[in-house]
């Protein structure tokens, strides 16, 4: 049992650390003391920092060299995030673009698309957003209704609505999953497109969450015309392209986030501050239970890295880590707020923010229920629920759904 780097990894870690030592003075402060507060200033500073990281080879490092990456493996990318955390500097701004959409374009895009979009994405000159989910297409993503109709000149016209779109308010481009043929079964009739976010007919509206902040957006499309060469991965191949994005999403969340910062030691500090709480049996029991589970997640992370290094795909423990993390953090928020009292719910309190953020996080990237279905079926081989949408043309399915809802 060995937590140490291989000689090659140790060498790589040294390089990363040296670069960070030399450049970390340029990193913006986004959290804690002296943090920037003005959203515009944050955006400018964070963009510049991503540009710097890209120059140093620390942004998009898993991308192939020909597109500006370093061609490194997932284990080395973990080394980068560990060292950035150690140095106390923020990561890149455009995690969705560089972590998920860029790799999708690399896998499915045309050479022209790669040459045009990847460089500015990597350097944060152009921020990207992902437009997959809709009000009626979340867990059942293949139910997207945003329609793309082909015009006589080969261009496409988009109509519909997307939701949960992070960064749409300042994104230059978006990757959008739209229905191009409603007369065939739903997984088959979709196409992926690149959309310039300043196109006429696009409206971006902030979606305020419990905290009052708008970290997501709704995006509306009214007769938005996009070029013929904006299709990614071929017509009616949108589902396959989207699955690639979702695979990178799982990898990005799994390896990059280190439990979203929800660590047992962080919660311990808050409880220690109140001696009555620290000696209360019920508080200790609650805290002990959730802390032990969060500790498990740290080691689950190491197991995943160990498996990757061995050339294996990380096992089921990987997929369930998010469920554990979110539920433990929910418990921790309740526990700490119970100790502190209403003051914990002050708008400026980190606990109020966490408590407000978690109910949404529970559904982000797939609800807990969908995750449990997927793991039950794909990992444990349990039979799927019977489905009523298989093989039915999407238009017919929609008609049935409408009929069912009004009955």
């Amino acid at each position: 049992m060995d937590l140490n780097d291989t000689p090659e990894q140790a060498e790589y870690r040294k390089e990363v650390r040296a670069w960070l030592d030399a450049n970390k003075a340029d990193a913006p402060i986004l959290q804690g003391e002296g943090a920037l507060t003005d959203p515009d200033e944050i955006l400018v500073a964070h963009r510049a920092w991503q540009g710097k990281l890209a120059e140093g080879g620390l942004a998009g490092a898993t991308w192939p060299k020909e597109y500006g990456g370093q061609g490194i493996g997932p284990v080395e990318s973990v080394v980068i995030s560990q060292e950035m955390q150690e140095a106390g500097v923020p990561g890149i701004l455009d995690v969705i673009g560089v972590g998920m959409l860029g790799p999708t374009i690399i896998a499915h895009g045309t050479e022209e698309q790669k040459q045009r979009y990847l460089g500015p994405m990597l350097h944060a000159d152009e921020i990207w957003c992902q437009m997959f989910s809709e009000p009626a297409a979340g867990s059942d993503l293949a139910a997207v209704q945003t329609r793309a109709k082909k015009n006589d000149d080969g261009t496409w016209t988009l109509n519909g609505q997307k939701v949960w779109t992070t960064n749409a308010q300042f994104a230059a481009y978006g990757l959008i999953l739209a229905r191009t043929n409603p007369d065939i079964p739903k997984h088959k009739g979709m196409t992926m497109f690149i959309v310039p976010m300043d196109a006429e007919g696009i409206t971006v509206r902030g979606l305020r969450q419990i905290s009052g902040e708008a970290e997501f957006n709704e995006v509306f499309f009214d007769d938005v015309v996009i070029d013929a060469d904006s299709v990614v991965g071929g017509e009616e191949n949108g589902w396959g392209v989207g699955l690639t994005t979702l695979m990178f999403e799982r990898l990005t969340i799994g390896l990059g986030s280190s439990s979203f910062g929800y660590r047992a030691t962080r919660f311990a500090e808050a409880i220690m501050a109140d001696p009555v709480a620290a000696n209360d049996h019920e508080v200790r029991h609650n805290f002990g239970e959730l802390a032990a589970e969060l500790e498990a997640i740290r080691w689950t992370g190491y197991r995943s890295i160990s498996a990757l290094q061995d050339g294996q795909i990380p096992g089921p423990e990987f997929g369930l880590a998010k469920v554990t993390t979110v539920n433990c953090a929910v418990r921790a928020g309740d526990l700490i707020a119970d100790i502190v009292g209403p003051e914990a719910l002050d708008e400026d309190s980190e606990w109020a923010y966490m408590i407000s953020f978690l109910p949404g996080l529970k559904s982000a990237g797939g609800t807990e229920e969908i995750l449990r279905n997927t793991i039950g079926e794909r990992v444990l081989g349990l039979p799927p629920e019977p489905r009523l949408d298989k093989g039915i043309p999407f238009s017919e399915l929609r008609a049935k759904e409408k009929e069912g809802a009004s009955a």
Partner: protein, 381 residues
């Protein structure tokens, strides 16, 4: 980073599985509930396999292996509910070896059966060494220990000690007049020792309540940290054993959920069933991760042993509890009858959660370590 098993560890694990496969352990777990004599004596199995000397240093005739190796055997034992005396014998052999006992070689060779009497180290809300109560919530002080040269004389009672009923040598922990822990090897037949062998609910676990009334033994040269290590070793072993039991229950549930049909569908297709089984998997995987951490702490991070082992027992203990009930729920009424093995898992879980501090004490210890600034030191590279 490499957290996989070494070739030697895989061999050790496979050998354990093989040894248990030669005994009808699950059948015995059932029969012994009605007939004590139906439980096979697993001391010889443990001796032949070399497990009684697993944690003993090579110069004292042992294998010189680590806690994680022992946990792999416990995991295999847990899979088939084998009544092998790991919880008493392994900590005893470890303390005898570290404490310089001249009995160590005989114990490692399986010629002398030694067992440990559980003693729990102090915490910030229970700032004294305590032992298992015979009944009730109040934890008694560890036996009083009077030290005279190499001889230690104990007075006190230790409840529900695993495997102590069959032992010829007891590793006893008491406290001296200043509250410091003292460990000694006491002959089970020595004057002043009363061993009341018994069992409850899970017939595979042989237990004993031991009363020491001026019973003397030979002092072991151990400090408080070494003595505490035995407690955490057993927490780790119970966690690993629970992992094994959960693994088997998961397999059994999966098989049934795929083949049993209601309303024209396999029951595993219903979310209520599926999600419950996935919850077993979630708790199992978390427990496995913490067992790996515990093994790592024993080999590389001694300061984190208390924390890691307590995390593992807490999560695996609650996990087994959940699993035992879920297994019955998946199987419906039949799961609550002797027609099925699920009641045996349930009996194991019910006793486990109350044994050697119960997993609740480990949960409190996790909090205690973190709230006193003794959490994990995370460093990378």
């Amino acid at each position: 980073m490499n957290l996989g098993l070494s070739d030697e560890q895989q061999f050790l694990r496979d050998a354990a599985a093989d040894a248990f496969s030669r005994v009808k352990t699950v059948e015995a777990a059932r029969e012994a509930i009605e007939d004590d004599s139906a439980l096979p004596d697993m001391w010889p199995t443990a001796a032949e396999a070399g497990w009684l000397g697993l944690l003993v240093s090579e110069e004292n005739g042992g294998a010189g292996l680590g806690a994680y190796d022992a946990m792999l055997i416990a995991q295999e034992a847990g899979k088939v509910l084998a009544g092998v005396p790991l919880l008493g014998a392994l900590p005893a052999s470890m303390l005898l070896d570290m404490g310089g006992s001249d009995k160590t070689e005989a114990v490692a060779a399986g010629e002398l059966k030694a067992s440990w009497l559980p003693a729990c180290p102090p915490s910030s809300i229970e700032p004294r060494w305590t032992v298992e109560p015979v009944e009730g919530m109040a934890r008694p002080d560890a036996p009083t220990a009077t030290v005279d040269g190499d001889t230690v004389t104990f007075t006190g009672t230790v409840g529900w000690a695993p495997d102590a009923g069959e032992a010829e040598l007891l590793v006893v922990i008491g406290v001296d007049s200043s509250g410091e822990p003292v460990a000694a090897a006491v002959e089970a037949g020595a004057s002043g020792v009363t061993v009341d062998a018994d069992w409850r609910y899970d017939a595979t676990r042989r237990l004993a309540t031991v009363t020491l009334d001026g019973a003397s033994g030979t002092k072991l040269d151990l400090d408080a940290e070494q003595i505490a290590r035995a407690w955490y070793l057993v927490q780790a072993l119970i966690a690993a054993e629970s992992v094994g039991t959960m693994e088997t229950a998961l397999e059994v549930c999966l098989e049934y959920a795929k083949e049993r049909y209601t309303f024209g569908r396999a029951i595993g297709s219903y979310q209520a069933i599926k999600h419950g089984i996935v919850e077993i998997l979630r708790r199992l995987e978390n427990s496995k991760s913490l067992c790996i951490y515990t093994g790592f702490a024993f080999s590389d991070k001694p300061d984190e042993i208390a924390y890691a082992a307590s995390c593992a027992r807490s999560v695996a203990g609650a996990g087994l509890d959940f699993t035992a009930r879920q297994q019955i729920a998946v199987h419906g009424g039949i799961g609550a009858t002797w027609e099925h093995d699920a009641p045996l898992t349930f009996r194991r879980a019910q006793l486990n959660r109350r044994l050697v501090g119960g997993h609740g004490m480990s949960t409190d210890r996790v909090a205690d370590e973190l709230l006193n600034g003794r959490g994990p030191v995370v460093s990378v590279g």
